[in-house]
């Protein structure tokens, strides 16, 4: 007699917990050829608001960690992800319809990207900050600081590598994140949230929402306690992106417009620096 599988319930990740949507709704996730994979939670506006509250709550602690510590935590994520390589390769394969080999390559690239970003944690301040030679007797220095709570629409196509590539730079710089996963390919994101939960990332630092963007994205765009909005996942919907950007203007969110990204190439500093504020401090020099 064949064993009956224990199927996995794909839930949201909010504030270190894995709730189903408070709305009780879910939606059907299919593989690349239309076969049923699982029901994913359909996050509501309320779920999105709860996620923002969790991200804000986590922000003071996470941003106050030493850069060294944040680097260690992100590196730990890479370690744990490496350990889940097989599971994620399978999920990516199903989600994206790629070959096994390509999918494994994508997971490997995601692990390598985390390692790359982990190393930036305690170096970026020296690259983008510094002292300013003002023409007066003051010691004047500029340091980068995290912007705050970031709403992210993860890329729709690249379910894991794309997700990691938009979340890691935000987190390693000390921001906290509410990410709306790829709508049609959300399952690797949920598993990635489980990886985060088992790798020293404090609850609330990364909150993962699955479901239609029509509910979550406007909530993130209009929420006054969200400081930045990454519209990468709205690439295929220019009108929607424009509306979200206009909404984000209400509290002057930093907005990243959707653009075609190549997740295989060196990402550069840009995905970290747009989520950094420069703080400049002046102090007199005297006896």
């Amino acid at each position: 007699m064949t064993r009956i599988d224990v199927r996995k319930t794909y839930k949201l990740a909010i504030g270190g917990a894995f709730p189903r949507s408070e709305s009780g709704r879910s939606y059907e996730v299919t593989d690349a050829s239309g076969g049923f994979l699982a029901n994913a939670a359909h996050a509501s506006r309320k779920d999105a608001r709860d996620a923002v509250v969790a991200a804000r709550k986590a922000f003071p602690g996470w941003s106050a960690r030493t850069a060294y510590n944040r680097g260690q935590v992100v590196y730990r994520v890479a370690e744990v992800l490496e350990g889940r390589r097989a599971q994620l390769a399978e999920e990516v394969q199903r989600a994206e319809g790629a070959t096994r080999r390509v999918s494994e390559g994508l997971v490997d690239a995601a692990v390598d990207r985390l390692v790359w970003y982990a190393g930036w944690a305690d170096k970026l301040a020296q690259v983008v900050g510094g002292t300013n030679p003002v023409a007066a007797p003051y010691f004047d220095f500029s340091v980068p600081e995290p912007t705050g709570v970031v709403g992210v629409l993860a890329p729709q196509e690249s379910s894991l590598l794309g997700l990691v590539s938009v979340v890691a730079p935000a987190v390693v710089t000390g921001n906290t994140v509410v990410v709306a996963a790829s709508v049609r390919r959300p399952l690797p994101a949920v598993t990635f949230a489980e990886v985060l939960a088992t790798s020293d990332v404090p609850g609330g630092v990364v909150n993962v929402l699955t479901g239609l963007l029509t509910d979550t994205a406007p909530t993130l765009a209009s929420h006054l306690d969200v400081n930045a909005l990454d519209l990468t996942g709205a690439l295929g919907d220019p009108d929607g992106a424009t509306a979200l950007e206009a909404d984000a203007a209400e509290n002057l969110k930093r907005v990243r417009r959707p653009a075609q990204d190549d997740w295989a190439t060196d990402p550069g500093l840009d995905r970290m620096t747009w989520l950094l504020e420069t703080k400049t401090v002046w102090h007199p020099i005297g006896t």
Binding site: A246, A248, L252, W282
Partner: protein, 487 residues
């Protein structure tokens, strides 16, 4: 003459005689056109407006009002100059033009200072010692970057954006122009700049300086006008970059207007900065810093220290010293070299300051100003301090943009930081303490783009300036200031 001698004086009070700066250095024209493609031209529709001296309400000149058609001509000129000349020129050559401009600003510094004070109402001491020298310094600083851009951002090959549309406020007309134009040009962009409608004259003199420098036509275009002109600049489809300094409300409108476009945007908006005075502060310098923080430029400063947060144990003493110091402020004729506080920039701004101050009184705060004789003509508001203010009062939350200080108290460093950060703004803050570790602890926790420790309102071309949260995004000054003008 022992130590118990009576306090009465045999001599009269040392009253400074008027020391007016001469106006003759400025050659005011009765009317000014738009500066487009290297020429002063009449506006297409022929509209104009008057610019007045806020200290006397005297009409200084008639200034052309640019509408959409004029803005279109300016953007076309900027595009042509970008494509044909400026983007093709080597950084070294661009830099030399900027150095030239910097030198001419120094050479004509007296004229610029007088014109700025006439048109803006700020004390000549400030336009002479702060605005104009800093504007020249900005051009010097960014001139040097023009041929070194590839060293500014490791791993990048920086390219200019194209045409920058820039809209600036009336509080530091020439300095804000320098903050906008110098980095834009250094990076290889061309610009269409709109000065504020109440202070267009120094920008028009700057246009003349561009001609003296033989700057290629169209690299800098100046379109004068009010809000509609600014909207036309922001909305023009061939503008690649919008840079704005001004109120948070207008910043919001601009952010909405550029949504969905390819336009890059930097915003330097309002503030409600906390100036935190701990009980171990160097008190005399702290009092100076409080005064500089809120009365510099009549409080028309986005980074003004408009909320004084003073530790309760020293609040009475600090206030007493502050009031004594305020009593020595010399309010009046901005052209007098001894004036500390000049005229409010416009009737409209004066009305806003009055309204919020009246609300402060209605909400129960105690209002105090030193006795001072204000001129009968022009727009004036005395240096004012409100005590008994709580976080809930409107004068503690809204940007007044005038010489009005709200005083709040705190008991512990944590409370100071919490109150300081309890605002949608995040432009600047001040911290006063003789204890280094406390200063760094506080500076680290303040959510503000500029933190002045044991000083206030200091600016330098090498030092990045800009806000957190609703105070805007992007930085001006320093290497960071290049970022907004490069792709």
């Amino acid at each position: 003459m022992g130590g118990t001698a009576p306090l009465d004086r045999t001599s009269p009070v040392f009253d400074y005689a008027p020391a007016p700066e001469s106006r003759s250095v400025v050659d005011l024209r009765s009317s000014y056109g738009l500066f487009i493609d290297g020429q002063f031209v009449e506006p297409v529709a022929g509209g104009s407006f008057k610019t007045i001296s806020p200290a006397t309400e005297e009409v200084l000149a008639e200034v052309a009002e640019a509408d959409e058609a004029d803005v279109d001509l300016a953007v076309r000129a900027a595009r042509r100059a970008y494509t044909r000349t400026w983007s093709r020129m080597s950084g070294r050559e661009r830099g030399k033009y900027l150095f030239r401009i910097a030198r001419i600003l120094q050479e004509r510094s007296r004229e610029l200072a007088v014109l700025e004070t006439l048109d803006n109402g700020k004390p000549i001491r400030e336009s002479r010692d702060v605005d104009v020298p800093l504007a020249a310094a900005h051009f010097f600083y960014y001139a040097g970057w023009a041929d070194k851009l590839r060293y500014a951002f490791p791993g990048r090959d920086p390219r200019p954006l194209g045409v920058a549309g820039q809209v600036i406020p009336w509080n530091f007309p020439l300095l804000m122009l320098a903050w906008k134009i110098a980095p834009a040009l250094a990076c290889g962009n061309t610009v269409v700049l709109k000065p504020a409608e109440t202070t267009p004259l120094s920008a028009l003199l700057f246009a003349e300086i561009c001609r003296q420098a033989d700057l290629p036509p169209g690299v800098v275009n100046i379109v004068t006008g009010a809000g509609d002109t600014g909207r036309a600049v922001v909305a023009h489809p061939d503008v690649d970059k919008v840079a704005f300094t001004g109120s948070t409300d207008v910043g919001r409108q601009i952010a909405r207007a550029v949504a969905g476009t390819e336009k890059r945007l930097t915003l330097e908006l309002g503030g409600k900065a906390a100036n935190i005075v701990f009980d171990d502060a160097p008190v005399d310098q702290a009092v100076e810093g409080i005064v500089d923080g809120i009365f510099f430029n009549q409080g028309h400063v986005c980074c003004a220290g408009s909320r004084l947060l003073v530790q309760e144990s020293v609040a009475d003493e600090v206030l007493e010293r502050l009031k004594r110091r305020m009593s020595t402020l010399r309010v009046g004729d901005p052209m007098d070299k001894n004036t500390d506080v000049g005229a409010i920039n416009s009737a409209e701004q004066l009305a806003k300051i009055r309204e919020l101050s009246d609300i402060g009184e209605q909400e129960g705060a105690d209002r105090w100003s030193p006795p001072c004789d204000l001129p009968s003509q022009g727009f004036w508001f005395p240096p004012t301090v409100f005590t008994g203010v709580s976080q809930a009062h409107r004068i503690a939350r809204e940007e007044i943009f005038g010489p009005v200080l709200s005083v709040l108290t705190f008991r512990t460093p944590a409370e100071a930081v919490e109150k300081a950060n309890n605002t949608p703004y995040g432009l600047s803050a001040g911290v006063w303490s003789d204890k280094g570790s406390r200063i760094l602890w506080t500076a680290d926790r303040l959510r503000a783009g500029v933190v002045w420790a044991n000083t206030f309102n200091k600016l330098d071309p090498t030092s990045p300036f800009g806000g957190y949260k609703e105070s805007g995004y992007g930085r001006e000054g320093g290497r960071h200031g290049l970022e907004g003008y490069l792709r």
